[in-house]
């Protein structure tokens, strides 16, 4: 196995303090470097968030760097070559990309180019991608893979609080009375958070877990809510109704610091405990227990993740949790908070500074004239030349399919594996007249590209990311990119130069991009103006907003950042002292969080629920982790998790080849028969491409507000396969 290469025993030349390249926890880690190669790791015990702790991905992440699949030259599509590509000089490749873009834009207009970006990039790069699409390409069509990840939470936060960030540092969890984990497999998707949860429990916290599967955290939690997939909003409404009935709400907080409670209370009235139990599949006594614990606690922490967000009702689900928090008034305090657990490395920073289709830097709105003027000024362009809102990443593929978008540039996004109903995505990719991908490995989507430009791994560049708590941290460069590979921001600037549109794309180092980003974000909700690389180093991270000028007095200030949001008496630019929340009246918003039946719900033809998610040793579409031998060994291939009661009915035994089928397609995988999942539900992890791809099955239904796809539920049927699938006898090139 190529990825199983292990480091040599020779002493490293140096240790580089940086962070893991994978999930939103962004654990501090020290990389061992020798001869311009990352050869191992050493825990970084001083970094306060993880204090040396790592998950298996973090431990083995160092193995990706010298992998033989690493792209070290530019590639062009070449049908005569056995692997479909042949190497070409970097400068020629950039020239070809620029010529193709110019050609398409001349023929069909600027909007015929689309850009897909990603939330694993540093904030500097995400800022640059947003600027590149609007200023260099003059297209509104840029979106990012955070669309698949956190947008439901982001939209709900915006509606309820006027700001989109976890409210408290994780250390606040220890000492709280109750922790409610809604739709988050903490142990496998954000492992470091586990210790905070366990530590809170040791200090007396009760843990409530809401999940269709008995995950490792659900196994030992105090109260398990075995919710039926897609019924979360009903559960939250039912629990709130019980709290209202028993008077377990903070009427004083509701009256003085919120608006909209009465409408929510009126909506919840229909959600009697009996009806809620019937709809959600959660026993009535468990609902009552949850309402009592949550309602009567003095301090609490609620967090959620993709389990309730990946739904066509995702924003409503997230608003349902926020209503539970606001009704108790337990927010903006040292042991009480709310948050969404970020998925990708820079899921937080990546959704703040303008690579989102409707957004400009500083969490500004691209449709807001004041915001447009401010950013146009920073970018040195006329406001009217700044494109308006674009469309979400999936809609962007629909526009490719419809022939409106003819050319595509992608970076840090593998939609052929990660988007739902990915057979459609594949068809759309083949319709493109020109597609250029920037990548460090040839991912499954990039295999459709005309030109592939060799980009950089996380350890080959520096910059900032914002982790789960809203803490801005610094990624430090450990090694140089190999061969012709370049730092991604250089490639983007090279394309701008080759297009003859270099204005605004002449940065010489990430620090310069960050300094412009600081100015661009100044005065916005996500204000980074007071953050410097030095301050990040000195404080081991800086929580935004961090001001360069005091928002109240306008005087220059050396601001340490804002670890905790919404504290009583806190000042923000939107409320101007009226209250702690980011609305002109300073009050938080209750929003009616309506339950809607999922699109393509279980039915007579497809009687089961399919839900998808992660395993601990893999990350997203697997482009990196499926190349790291020890992580592949830990979980070599996806399986269909199903309950023995269902398996017995279908005549399926553990390990049997089994077919899961939905209205989009069918895949054949081995069965994993376990009692730890609802008997009416099957689970398939989504990290694999091709014949093993869970997203062949998922439905492209999207939330009407956030446009997040409904990955976590669709109707499905299962049967035993006659024999192994064809792919089982073929050795995969990646493994």
């Amino acid at each position: 196995m190529s990825g199983a290469r292990l480091s040599t025993s020779a002493e490293p030349e140096r240790l580089v303090k940086t962070h893991c390249c994978f999930c939103g926890q962004q654990c501090g880690i020290q990389l061992k470097v020798r001869d311009n190669e990352v050869v191992g790791f050493e825990p970084w015990e001083e970094f306060p968030f993880n204090r040396g702790m790592l998950c298996p991905k973090g431990v083995k992440r160092y193995l990706q760097g010298a992998h033989p699949d690493r792209l070290t030259t530019a590639l062009r599509r070449d049908e005569s070559s056995p692997d479909g590509f042949s190497a070409m000089p970097y400068a020629d490749a950039v020239a070809k990309v620029a010529a193709a873009i110019a050609d398409i834009q001349q023929q069909y207009g600027p909007s015929a180019m689309g850009v897909l970006s990603g939330a694993s990039l540093t904030t500097e790069k995400t800022y640059l991608m947003g600027k590149f699409a609007r200023v260099c390409l003059r297209t509104p069509y840029i979106d990012y893979n955070g669309r698949l990840c956190m947008v439901s939470a982001g939209a709900a936060n915006k509606k309820a609080f006027g700001i989109d960030r976890t409210t408290n540092p994780w250390s606040d969890m220890v000492g709280t009375d109750v922790i409610w984990i809604a739709g988050s497999n903490v142990a496998e998707c954000s492992p470091i958070t586990t210790n905070y949860v366990w530590q809170a429990r040791e200090q007396g916290a009760k843990i409530i877990v809401q999940d269709p599967r008995i995950t490792p955290v659900a196994r030992t939690c105090d109260l398990y809510l075995p919710v039926k997939p897609g019924r979360d909003a009903a559960l939250f409404a039912g629990v709130l109704q019980l709290m209202i009935e028993h008077g377990w709400i903070d009427q004083d907080f509701i009256d003085t610091l919120t608006v909209g409670f009465d409408e929510v209370a009126a909506y919840c009235r229909q959600w009697t405990a009996e009806r809620t139990a019937q709809v959600t599949g959660v026993p009535e006594r468990a609902l009552r227990q949850a309402a009592e614990w949550w309602g009567t606690a003095k301090t609490s922490f609620l967090f959620h993740a993709r389990g309730i967000e990946h739904h066509s009702n995702g924003v409503q689900n997230a608003l349902g949790t926020i209503n539970l928090v606001l009704a108790t008034g337990r927010i903006g305090k040292s042991k009480s908070g709310y948050g969404t657990i970020t998925g990708q490395a820079n899921e937080q920073g990546g959704r703040e500074h303008g690579q989102k289709c409707d957004q400009l830097p500083g969490w500004r709105d691209i449709a807001n004239p004041d915001h447009r003027r401010h950013i146009a000024g920073i970018w040195g362009i006329d406001e009217k030349d700044l494109p308006g809102p674009g469309v979400d990443a999936y809609e962007l593929f629909r526009k490719i399919d419809a022939g409106e978008i003819r050319g595509l540039l992608s970076i840090c996004f593998n939609p052929k594996v990660s988007l739902p109903d990915n057979a459609f995505v594949t068809r759309a990719l083949e319709k493109l007249e020109f597609y250029a991908a920037i990548d460090f490995f040839l991912n499954d989507t990039a295999r459709h590209a005309d030109i592939v430009l060799p980009g950089s791994l996380q350890e080959e560049d520096e910059g900032t990311v914002t982790q789960v708590e809203g803490r801005v941290i610094k990624i430090n460069k450990a090694v140089d990119p190999p061969g012709d590979a370049r730092q991604d921001w250089r490639i983007v600037q090279d394309i701008a130069g080759a297009l003859g549109r270099p204005h605004g794309f002449t940065f010489t180092e990430p620090r310069e991009i960050f300094d412009e980003l600081r100015r661009a974000s100044k005065g916005g909700v996500a204000d980074y103006s007071g953050i410097t690389y030095e301050k990040i180093d000195a404080q081991m991270g800086v929580f935004w907003p961090c001001y360069s000028e005091d928002p109240e007095t306008g005087r220059p200030v050396d601001h340490a950042g804002t670890p905790r949001l919404f504290e009583p008496g806190s000042y923000n630019r939107v409320a101007k002292g009226a209250g702690p929340f980011y609305f002109p009246d300073g009050k938080a918003r209750f929003n009616v969080a309506e339950f809607r039946t999922p699109v393509d719900d279980a039915s007579d033809d497809y009687p089961l629920f399919l839900t998808t998610g992660r395993v601990v040793s893999h990350f997203l579409s697997g482009t990196q982790t499926r190349r790291i031998g020890p992580l592949v060994n830990q979980y070599p291939e996806p399986r269909i998790e199903l309950h023995p009661k269902l398996a017995a009915k279908l005549g399926i035994k553990d390990e049997d080849w089994t077919i899961a089928e939905t209205r989009r397609g069918a895949i054949t995988l081995r069965a994993m028969v376990v009692t730890t999942i609802r008997p009416d539900t099957i689970f398939i992890p989504y990290h694999w491409p091709g014949e093993k791809s869970a997203n062949r099955l998922t439905v492209a239904a999207q939330d009407p507000i956030s446009k997040i796809p409904q990955y976590k539920v669709c109707g499905c049927r299962v049967r035993k396969a006659d024999g192994p699938p064809a792919y089982a006898s073929v050795l995969e090139p990646q493994q």
């Binding site: 191992g40 825990p43 998950c55 496998e188 109260l223 468990a286």
Partner: protein
Amino acid sequence: MPKPEYLHFFIDPNRCIGCQACVQACSECDTHRGESMIHLEFISRADSVQTVPVVCMHCEQPTCAEVCPADAIKRTGDGVVQSARKPRCIACGNCVLACPFGVPEVYEDRQLMMKCDMCYDRTSVGKKPMCATVCPSQALFFGTREQIEQLRPMSTPVNRFQFGRQTISTRVFMMMPAGLVTPTPYVDVTSAMDDRPRQRAIQLTPADNQDPFADVEV
């Protein structure tokens, strides 16, 4: 420098999430590159996601050393039972059969028994063992008695184990729920051999001993 006396290793299987960070990190050690000395097993995956990490328990009277015909297994002055000495080990596997915790393994390719030595290279210079450093659930914890008492008031460390008629005291502690232990607590391993794990460790009420999915029809 020996391992400081006041630092101890604690295992809390209730915290374990089965992520294998310990296994992956252990295999990075220069002295046994590519091999993990930790055993991390599902008890029974069909029934539960419960997993148990097992490091060497570092017995006060190590059975592995007692049965070794070549006298290849040594215990350091600070109580760490080491891997077999290469010049002495005859790879007979007596230790593998005798260890009540199932820890030692014979590596046929190098004709040597190897096992967890509590990262002697790290602990002897004041660092924590690699597994306990990275463990994201802190099911593996390395620190002082005072720290564990302060951090884990709901649990009690136990280091006596009953295997049939053999009582074993170890340098490594197992965390037990605080309410369940007696003044001289021990874990009766043999009597628990046939227990099956439960789906859920905690039930809503003591009487509520049922499957949370019992009412779900298929």
